[in-house]
Symmetry: D2
Subunit: 304 residues, 4 copies
């Protein structure tokens, strides 16, 4: 497979979708990016890397960061983690409180906001300096020391945190949050505000394609079985309430963020990251989903 | 891989789980089977077949039959099908009416009862003799002319059909059922009452491992893309409200039934069917899930 | 208080509201009535009767009939009735199935459709000829032998009964319906199709204003305590999901129907019935609610 | 009616119910009161007052205080208030978030916690010193200058405020809270911690029995129509998810608190307050509901 040729074809076929979605608007920093941005990067376990378009422009990773904190907490807690958070798709919007009320404050999975808050709470419980620890982790798995939080995005997130504050206090009322809620929201707002580009992001997911071992330094982050499980979670729950449709159309484990990024992996082979900031009705990058569907349908690279 | 040796190991490791679940009891025919039954069959696209235990004892396929009717309707309607039924995991019990009310009578996916009724309704709309057509389909894909409905199970199902009648009338009130409800329930009760064994069942799912083409006669039942999509649906929605956990533990597309059967596929390779009638709290075969997790964890045969 | 003068004032003030609501349209018979109809009747325990407008034109009583069947069943079963149906406002639309699923098939109160079906089921369990028994009851309490079912409305109801069939089968799946569902829907569709005018209706509720005793023949239908309880139920649950607002604005126990009738009582004094077929967004007569609010606000005749 | 004789009879009949409920235990201050306490006070608009048992022992008024803040806000905002809070019974537990999510952050009524928080938020918006303003109001309507907040209860409430913080942040995310959430919770925790006895409480509700005018100083707090409306709200929503049952059994507008107090009124006549700290399963005083049902059933003093 000629990586560059494939990316070029996809890029050209997806271009016409620009202008058909809408930017996330809940914080100013997200609504002021160039809506016509489009970048794709593929990174193989064989060391091959190729990219096209705005693949080296940084964007806000948002919910994609939930995979990093989950990997950190899963590595630390093992299967004990699953007494605080479930493993099932939610069938509800990503920031819903309804399910929590019916299921005693245990979020359905680690990728809805409630579940991600529980995971970040675990990171707080195990790290003295959680923000530094998260930065260290991301730099390590992406093999890039120059990854930072976008401070202005982090501050904006905190200004618009009413719903997340509600979720955290609500779970605390069930005993499922261990740390101070304001501190939790601060750390959570920071990791959502990580600033990365497609190349960083594809690299940073390679350890999941590589059965848990960081290909850049050989460190075993998760066991083979844990990596399988985290990948399964991405497939069933990674794209909010469009996860089933994403599995249906794309057929790869992946994770999206409202910054317009989506990253997916082919186990044993590669990671692919797309960024285009306009979102579809489910909050996933409109052009990004198209690009990934094209990739798997046309080149028959699905896990199914 | 020595197929027989693997099956023997799994069989012996799973045996101790017998006696820890409970039989389905909503109809007498299901509660009177031998709770200690355990059978496994593996059928490869390369023609290799192996089996152990009660792999040739017939059981009631129940919800596994929803895959057959879905394949029939998908083949006939193509993507038009998805205006009547969704593709998302439900987050609710398999026979819930709640979600229907909130989403205008469109079931979340084709594997919850509501969705399967919509699919069967489509089969009624396209086949003059829908029960015969279903039998024909199953015989063809399992390469076995001797597959029948268990009439006594079908009658029992109809006697206990209050919930399904409610679902069907409810969807009809939203205009999402086209045929007479009593006739629909009759056909539905019959296909759930198909009587098959593990070997039949593994064979009957080979076309899904074979990208849509029936390996026994070369007939293209679904396109490659459609087969990918149906497999994705099984992964995200195939095991009721335990689907996420099944993907997490087993990591294969699969479908279960309250008769105690579970069948899963490895795309491009094989199908594996397990039967053990005692169920766990989610309505899936307790020993069956254990057997499949063992299979994929120990022998690293997951899609992730 | 000069009864006729009051009615005239209310009638003139309410007239301008005609044309601002919309007719019930789920069955043809309801959508073909004259939308400008407006009638009011007041009947006192002292024998005084006055009326205005279309007070002697018959209309379809619809849900108001739920009060008759409830009185019949309450009289027969006493407090045992409340193990099959609750006494709390529902907070959900009148034909919702959601609450039933969360509360094991026990409807929240006897005035939502599910609860009324349970009540009618009790009437079937105690009367060999339930339709005749209901007619007899209504004729007795309204002191009018010439009250009948409108057969064409009853037939139309049965043709559009999908939702009620769903409710009844659903409750039967929880064991909370004793009789054949089709027979139940037939009887239910008939009592909803009772044809009465404002004068009949006001008379027929006098026994509730009279602490349970029929003023026309002295028969004790309910005990004083039971009448108090049924009146309380009308206040908290009588006007669908607008019951709180009705209590807030009107402040009287009352019951409405989608045929455009509303009837209310002042305990110890009188009953007042209004009919105007255009409905507000909650399914209650728009002009009817206005007329009753005017009556109680202007003339300070509330129970509060 | 001999007021003292009636109270004595009720007192003796209700005594045996002591020991059958359980104390509120979410804050220590509530779980340490004497569970055998029982007091009743009746205060008439004619000036007659009678009492029995622990009618002069102070207790924590808790949710009963929601009536005072509602009267303050209703008096200030008039019907504009109802764009921020509904008037319908909720059909959900008093501290549920589910309904808020389905109805865009508008609580169903002012007596569930969410609704009471909205009301207290309005008090904050109109009073510079809201805690003083609330104290002033309560002292005025109860004709007792010696009413205070129990500071230790208020502090305990704030320590256990996770659920209320969640509700307030959640509504703020919908734009339905105007003030700082921490300040709101502080004021709310204080008014719930008002310390009063049965006599105070019965007096403090007399203005509602008196059509809105404070009988102690002639001040018109609410218009006659507003008083009617507030009374209707107490009847339909005053006793949490047992409101329908309370209307059914007692048949009077009333309000309860988890401190074990219940107060009810007979419009135009009197107010009656009961205190007994053991609660039934719905969070209402077990002996208190019994006492009030006895009062209305035996002496036929219901509004129905």
């Amino acid at each position: 497979m000629d990586c560059n040729k494939i990316l070029e074809e996809i890029y050209n076929e997806v271009k016409p979708f620009l202008g058909k979605g809408r930017l996330a608007d809940y914080i100013p920093a997200l609504s002021s990016v160039d809506p016509n941005s489009l970048g794709i990067a593929i990174v193989g376990l064989d060391g091959c890397e190729c990219e096209i378009g705005d693949a080296q422009t940084n964007f806000s990773v948002q919910s994609i960061s939930k995979v990093y904190t989950l990997a950190m907490a899963f590595s630390e807690y093992g299967d004990k983690l699953w007494s605080s958070v479930g493993k099932e798709p939610s069938g509800n919007p990503f920031n819903s409180l309804v399910q929590l009320e019916h299921e005693n404050g245990i979020p359905r999975n680690p990728f809805i906001n409630a579940g991600a808050l529980v995971i970040t709470d675990k990171v707080l419980s195990t790290c003295k300096r959680p923000k530094s620890a998260i930065l260290d982790f991301v730099r390590k798995v992406s093999d890039n020391e120059d990854i930072y939080f976008d401070k202005s995005v982090a501050e904006s997130e905190k200004d618009e945190a009413s719903r997340n504050l509600a979720l955290a206090h609500f779970m605390q009322s069930f005993g499922n949050i261990e740390n101070d809620v304001d501190r939790l929201i601060d750390v959570y707002s920071h990791h959502c505000a990580l600033s990365m580009n497609c190349l960083d992001m594809a690299r940073s997911f390679l350890f999941l394609a590589n059965h848990g071992t960081n290909p850049f330094n050989g460190e075993k982050i998760l066991s083979r079985s844990q990596a399988k499980r985290l990948n399964a979670l991405m497939l069933t729950c990674g794209c909010y309430d469009e996860s089933g449709d994403f599995a249906f159309r794309v057929g790869l484990p992946g994770k999206s963020g409202v910054g317009g990024g989506i990253v997916a992996i082919i186990p044993g082979e590669m990671a692919i990251a797309v960024w285009s900031p306009e979102l579809n009705e489910f909050g996933n990058s409109l052009a990004g989903v198209e690009a990934l569907e094209l990739f798997t349908t046309k080149y028959e690279r699905s896990i199914f």
